[in-house]
Symmetry: C2
């Protein structure tokens, strides 16, 4: 069967064990399953040819960007092709005068920002990993700067997508505003490859801030740090990043990256401004608010290098923690709640770890009410999943969501009936409309 695929796409189909293994897993989901083959698409025609073959042979297709998803989005649930888009990595246009870039889906966020050097602009969505922009749109990624610049939806203006049928659609327009009909662009963003394959993105760029001020603030306990984060947000100050790392996370960073931060719960905070005076005023007010919640010490990054080092530390916290526990399994929750409920949910998660006798670390985007609990457990043990269920249950009761940014994939499917109620069946019906044969990433988001 694969011979016909190979002759359809000569030199672009791989079945080497290394390729199959690399495309049968993601960065966090515990199970793996290799695809039948990996197709390395180089252009739109390759994507359409792959889909034509998939329709004829009734083999599902899973789009693959950089492989950095966390919830099992890339893992076949049966015989399937992995459609690797990493060779579609051309930056098609940079239009600084319009704050726009047009890219193929395999361009990574770092590659784009590298290409933007000298324009005074950047693409702000920053999930930590050097994810592909197509994958980031597919999972509606966000990250440390979302509190200021938003996630993928406001920063992707238009998409080209290929449906299971091979039909090519252009969704959205390269404008700041449009009210011309249904918003299909945002429907495809976050659909995790289940509605279509993203083959081109038009992205919104932002001016690099002229002035940046970055702080590390350490607190006596986790509750104080969470409360301080809430106080800063409640003040309406225009923070650009506001990240919580608990004491265990700081300890892991110290060990993994050879840092010597105080091993206490910390907030990593950043302000962006076009004016130095505004920046100083904002930072000063933020510090006063945080001191009210009980700071132990404050440390400001003085140079660009120090800033980069601070955010590298935050981004590596996940890997630092994983590294602390070799041989263990780990699970990361991704709850988000209305901002005022965040301190209570942080406290709940912390208490629940203790109650359930689990090791774990709490960190994340508290400025958005979104944080992760990285739970460490013995492979095969059910306790971490039970923790996740209890935390999501509590989150939903507070009006929150089971996933702020990682998406649903395989792991969060079970929470959607409760989160969405009857709306979930309409999501399924939309899936059935666009992909009646269930060829596109089946078994993700819903069964």
């Amino acid at each position: 069967m694969l011979d016909s695929l190979k002759s359809l796409l000569p030199g672009k189909v791989s079945t080497t064990p290394a390729d199959l293994e690399a495309h049968g897993k993601d960065e966090s989901y515990p199970l793996q399953r290799p695809p039948l083959a990996v197709v390395y698409a180089e252009n739109l025609t390759d994507v359409q040819a792959t889909l034509a073959w998939a329709r004829e042979n009734r083999v599902p297709v899973i789009p693959f960007g950089a492989g950095t998803s966390l919830e099992g989005q890339l893992i076949p649930q049966g015989p399937a092709l992995s459609l690797d888009l990493s060779r579609m990595n051309r930056i098609l246009q940079i239009a600084p005068e319009d704050f726009l870039a047009v890219v193929e889906p395999g361009v990574t966020r770092k590659a784009l920002n590298e290409a933007l050097k000298g324009t005074g602009l950047f693409f702000p969505v920053d999930p930590g990993a050097d994810a592909s922009l197509g994958g980031m749109a597919a999972t509606n990624a966000s990250g440390t700067t979302t509190v200021r610049y938003g996630g993928m939806r406001p920063n992707v203006l238009a998409l080209q997508v290929v449906l299971a049928s091979g039909e090519v659609l252009e969704l959205g327009r390269a404008v700041r505003k449009t009210s011309a009909g249904y918003d299909l662009k945002d429907l495809f963003i976050g659909s995790e490859g289940t509605l279509g394959i993203i083959t081109r993105l038009t992205l919104r760029l932002h001016p690099l801030p002229e002035h940046v001020h970055t702080l590390r603030v350490f607190f006596k306990n986790l509750e104080a740090a969470a409360q301080a984060a809430y106080s800063v947000m409640a003040s309406g100050l225009p923070v650009a990043r506001l990240e919580l790392v608990d004491a265990r996370g700081i300890a892991a960073i110290n060990r993994y990256l050879e840092r010597s931060y105080p091993e206490r719960p910390a907030l990593f905070v950043e302000f962006h401004s076009s004016s130095r005076e505004a920046l100083q005023a904002e930072s000063r007010l933020a510090l006063e608010l945080m001191q009210g919640a009980g700071t132990l010490s404050v440390d400001a990054a003085q140079t660009q290098e120090e800033r980069t080092a601070q955010w590298e530390a935050r981004h590596q916290a996940y890997w630092a923690l994983v590294n602390l526990y070799p041989g263990k399994a780990y699970l990361s929750t991704d709850t988000a709640v209305p901002i005022s409920k965040m301190p209570a949910l942080v406290a709940y998660a912390s208490r629940l770890l203790g109650e359930m006798n689990l090791q774990g670390s709490i960190l994340g985007h508290v400025g958005d009410g979104n944080f992760h609990t990285l739970v460490v457990f013995e492979p095969g043990e059910a306790k971490a999943e039970a923790f996740s269920e209890r935390l999501v249950e509590h989150t939903l009761a507070l009006g929150g969501t089971c996933t702020g940014e990682h998406g649903v994939g395989l792991r969060k499917k079970k929470f959607l009936p409760k989160e969405h109620g009857p709306a979930l069946s309409w999501m399924r019906q939309i899936k059935g409309l666009f992909d009646p044969e269930g060829l596109l990433n089946p078994g993700k988001i819903f069964d």
Copy 2:
């Protein structure tokens, strides 16, 4: 037939000529047609009862908020009920700690902002008219502050909607971020009552700016004003409003509101900041940039009253212009283009008015690349529509959209095939999925 409706909803169904007339028109569309009856829904149950009756009697339903739409969204295309939601005007919750408000669809934006007094928060979307928030979501409204705060999509976090079947869906969550499945909330925003009836909205609130600086800047000609607006946007300065009014618009405002502004093309500009120093630095830089494009004079509002007067003038420009030409008909275009293309499109629109020997005025949200050309013509004359077609043609060729904020309604339907290509048929299919009998606002967006 209507007797059964009246007995189903006693005291809530009107067929008085005044009610029928008021519900058979909007603020701009030239044709009118009264509905069969007006139902004044007071709660969710009334909405469901109306839809049940409509299904049984195969009579379409058109949701009606404040009646301020501009493209014919409210006008029956055959026998239909108008479902007036203005009595569903309760503010259900204000949660300043979460920057949230929960409202019924008939609450107007001004009523909400009135209720928010004292909280230090406001709801920023400002289309000029005192529209209902349900209607604003239905048409994906935006306005003068969108350049800073975004339009309805980022400012509506969740919706309750009732489908044609009577089924109630809760879409979105009251959180800043979620990646839990398909984005149905944004699908319903901008669907103009064709997919469901909005019965509740969860809105995102913003801190009132501590410092506001408002300028009126007058230019030697329209091209200079448009170019100045582009220079300000290209600099990345965080403007909160950036509005163009041409000389004819200023003259109309002077006459209608008894002002004495210089009758020259003007930019109305506003900055919001938490710091006075930042505000001064930003305004200064903006002024320098505008002076480079050729300013004649600059005028800063010194007090809150002056600011309010300035924005009232901008908001009343449409009515001021209409008032200049009693007995004439008028049509407002709503094109938006990538920001660098805006000066050229403004020049094109101005030239085209002259070429076609039409009177008109150019004004709007140039900071978003979105502006309106208000064309005045003799009732029955086809020239204004021909103007609109040529302008939209040119706009689409520049990568723009036929409607930045007014929506499609009846008037923009003909442009969608060209703007969306094959994606339009998928919008139709989604319509067919949610409303297979075509009960909800038929004939709007597409036939």
